[in-house]
């Protein structure tokens, strides 16, 4: 069994955020070489975690957790059980925890029996508050009227349904956890959106999912972009209830597809979703997760490649308030040559019990020569007491890669930035907004779908209203002016 080198990075939550350099792992060792786990403590600078060639074993994992203002050295890897650690895998055999030697070996199955009810110690569940899932992991029937799904599509788009195993259903998304397998089983008829080959859409396809408060729902959406088509599909989740669902994406050869998943749930909603794509030869896939509403939201976004030359960009923006647990798990499985992936998630947290988790797995298999990959997660702690976990995890099984890097940092609001802006006459509330908007700007600008960008910026504004109160008078005028270039920059 391959051993996984691991470093544990700790940083003071009071250190200011600053841009991380792009780091490339230039490893040439293969998995077959056994290297002892790297247990040297990494004292990360403001840049967060960086990998130097000296650190680059065949795998590299860095954990970050920060909680303001206390608990300076909190280490998420210790929170609910050991994670990827070959030593711990022995313990797993003894029944203590269920672990996997490599991300690529995680069970994928349509059989519910393959996913027992978790204890919370499992790698895939250790960050999730199982007691707050509202029975979502129980094998109970879903309410038939739990969700209203409405598809609005431009002419030329085929909208229909797919039974299990029909058409492309089940070819891209295979359940990887209990929530996903239950959702699939409870969704005999999936919504099917197909963009026929060579069709280029001018406007987005809009899929609205409205959950009924108090209900228990399941769903499955299949988005199929046939070869050389071009489309944007926006899936918008609102309302309440407890929902497990899947979004299955098949991107045909040379197609360009953007899937935006908006989680704008009511405060009590629970949502666990597996969203998984198969990216065709020379195709471009973009997945954008925007999570703002809901009590517990856990979204797993996976990209796999069905041929060489594909590209996957996976973006995330989240904003957690008190009482919210927002968890994002991204996974890029590089098994084909000359594919690219770029993963960027940014989150802000405010309020005592706000909690976010980001797990970023990237696996570069032996066959994936010429891979180029980068992943980044940054979290901004706006108030004390909030906690963000950030776990980038990069496994490399081939020496022949173009580049592989990651960066992760969690920090508090930078008072020096605030002072600088205020020393130019900008009132404090306006300055705070500028800094927070600035924090999100690069990821928001990459979204590239104006309607979505506007909504995200508006939602961030609304969140900030909660934090610092609405801006009044002259300050509001300044603010309106200030907002404009950020939005204008998206095009």
């Amino acid at each position: 069994m391959a051993r996984r080198a691991r470093t544990t990075a700790r940083r003071s939550p009071s250190a200011p955020l600053s841009p991380a350099p792009r780091v490339h792992d230039t490893t040439s060792t293969r998995r077959t070489a056994i290297t002892p786990p790297d247990t040297r403590p990494h004292d990360t600078e403001a840049a967060g975690s960086t990998t130097t060639p000296a650190d680059a074993r065949q795998e590299h994992a860095v954990d970050h957790a920060a909680q303001a203002p206390t608990d300076v050295t909190l280490d998420s890897s210790r929170s609910a059980g050991p994670s990827y650690d070959a030593g711990a895998a022995v313990v797993a055999a003894a029944g203590e925890a269920v672990l996997e030697a490599t991300r690529g070996e995680r069970a994928r199955s349509f059989d519910v029996a393959d996913f027992p009810v978790p204890t919370g110690r499992e790698e895939v569940w250790r960050f999730t508050p199982l007691d707050r899932l509202g029975g979502l992991l129980e094998d109970a029937p879903a309410d038939p009227d739990a969700r209203d799904v409405v598809v609005q599509a431009p002419d030329g788009v085929h909208v229909g349904t797919l039974a299990a195993g029909e058409g492309v259903r089940g070819t891209a998304l295979v359940p990887e956890d209990r929530a996903a397998v239950l959702a699939d089983a409870a969704s005999p008829s999936a919504t099917h959106v197909r963009i026929p080959r060579e069709v280029e859409l001018d406007g987005p396809v809009h899929v609205s999912v409205v959950g009924r408060p108090g209900s228990r729902g399941a769903g499955h959406l299949v988005v199929e972009a046939e070869r050389h088509s071009r489309a944007v599909v926006v899936v918008e989740h609102t309302g309440g209830g407890v929902h497990a669902d899947g979004v299955e994406v098949v991107v045909g050869d040379g197609a360009e597809l953007t899937v935006v998943s908006l989680q704008l749930w009511d405060d009590e909603a629970v949502h666990v979703s597996q969203q998984e794509a198969s990216v065709g030869r020379d195709a471009s896939y973009r997945h954008i997760a925007i999570t703002l509403g809901g009590s517990v939201v856990r979204l797993s976004s996976t990209s796999r490649y069905a041929g060489p030359g594909g590209s996957a960009e996976m973006l995330g923006v989240y904003f957690a308030d008190s009482g919210q647990h927002l968890e994002h798990r991204s996974f890029v499985d590089h098994a084909e040559a000359r594919c690219r992936s770029d993963v960027r998630y940014k989150g802000a947290l405010q309020g005592e019990t706000a909690r976010t988790v980001w797990i970023g797995d990237v696996l570069i298999r032996a066959a994936a020569q010429g891979t180029e990959t980068y992943e980044l997660n940054r979290n901004l702690l706006l108030t004390e007491g909030a906690r963000a976990d950030s776990v980038p995890n990069l496994e490399i099984e081939t020496g022949d890669i173009e580049g592989a890097g990651h960066a992760s940092a969690t920090g508090r609001f930078d008072d020096e930035q605030l002072f600088y802006l205020r020393s130019r006459g900008i009132p404090e509330e306006v300055a705070r907004r500028l800094v927070v908007r600035g924090f999100f700007a690069d990821v928001v600008q990459r979204i590239g779908v104006p309607a979505v960008t506007d909504r995200v910026m508006a939602a961030i504004e609304a969140e900030l209203d909660l934090a610092v109160g609405p801006v009044a008078g002259a300050a509001a005028a300044a603010d309106a002016v200030a907002a404009e270039p950020v939005l204008a920059g998206r095009a």
Partner: protein, 254 residues
Amino acid sequence: MATLQIRDLHVSVETDGEPTEILRGVDLTIDSGQTHAIMGPNGSGKSTLAYSIAGHPKYTITGGTVTLDGQDVLAMSVDERARAGLFLAMQYPVEVPGVTVSNFLRTAKTALDGEAPALRHWVKDVRTAMADLRMDPAFAERNVNEGFSGGEKKRHEILQMELLKPKFAILDETDSGLDVDALKIVSDGVNRVREGGEVGVLLITHYTRILRYVRPDVVHVFVAGRVAETGGPELADELEENGYDRFVSAVAAS
């Protein structure tokens, strides 16, 4: 005419939980239209004075007053001070990711004036000021100070001074880290603002180099947290010749 008056200013910072006094009774008065140089050895408290006037939260005022035309500056918040007409060009300007220079400048101008500047004039003003400082127009769309070289940061500070038109500008070692060409460009910028005859400039520097381009009316020698001696431009010449030794040993002896 406006007057900035500093009286018996005492300032301390926390180090390891203990307050350390850095400024020990600073007295200084400057009128608009004047340029005062403040020269002193490393660690004498020059930046502390600048930050204290600007209201940086790290510095605690333990005594004395700072007034602008009789108004109590120390009672104002950081942004109120700026709106009252104070400007600090920082020794180490701060990077603000995701906020473009043009957005920043416009937001600041709007905050200072209480209304957004007329777009046409403003765009032209920014463009002209950037050209004068030999800044590539592309800087307008870059994030504030992010990835700027030391010299570019200093130009950006002077750009702000030109556009925001303060009553009093404190320039904290704006000359440091500049080569001769850049020093001249930056000095020209300062002189353009001075030509208006309205602004008062407190020019903090370690070296006399910049004083050849920006002639001061008054020179203060700053040692151990206070003004040790005040004179005309000839005092700078003496410092150029002999350094700070005479002043440092005088303070040590007292």
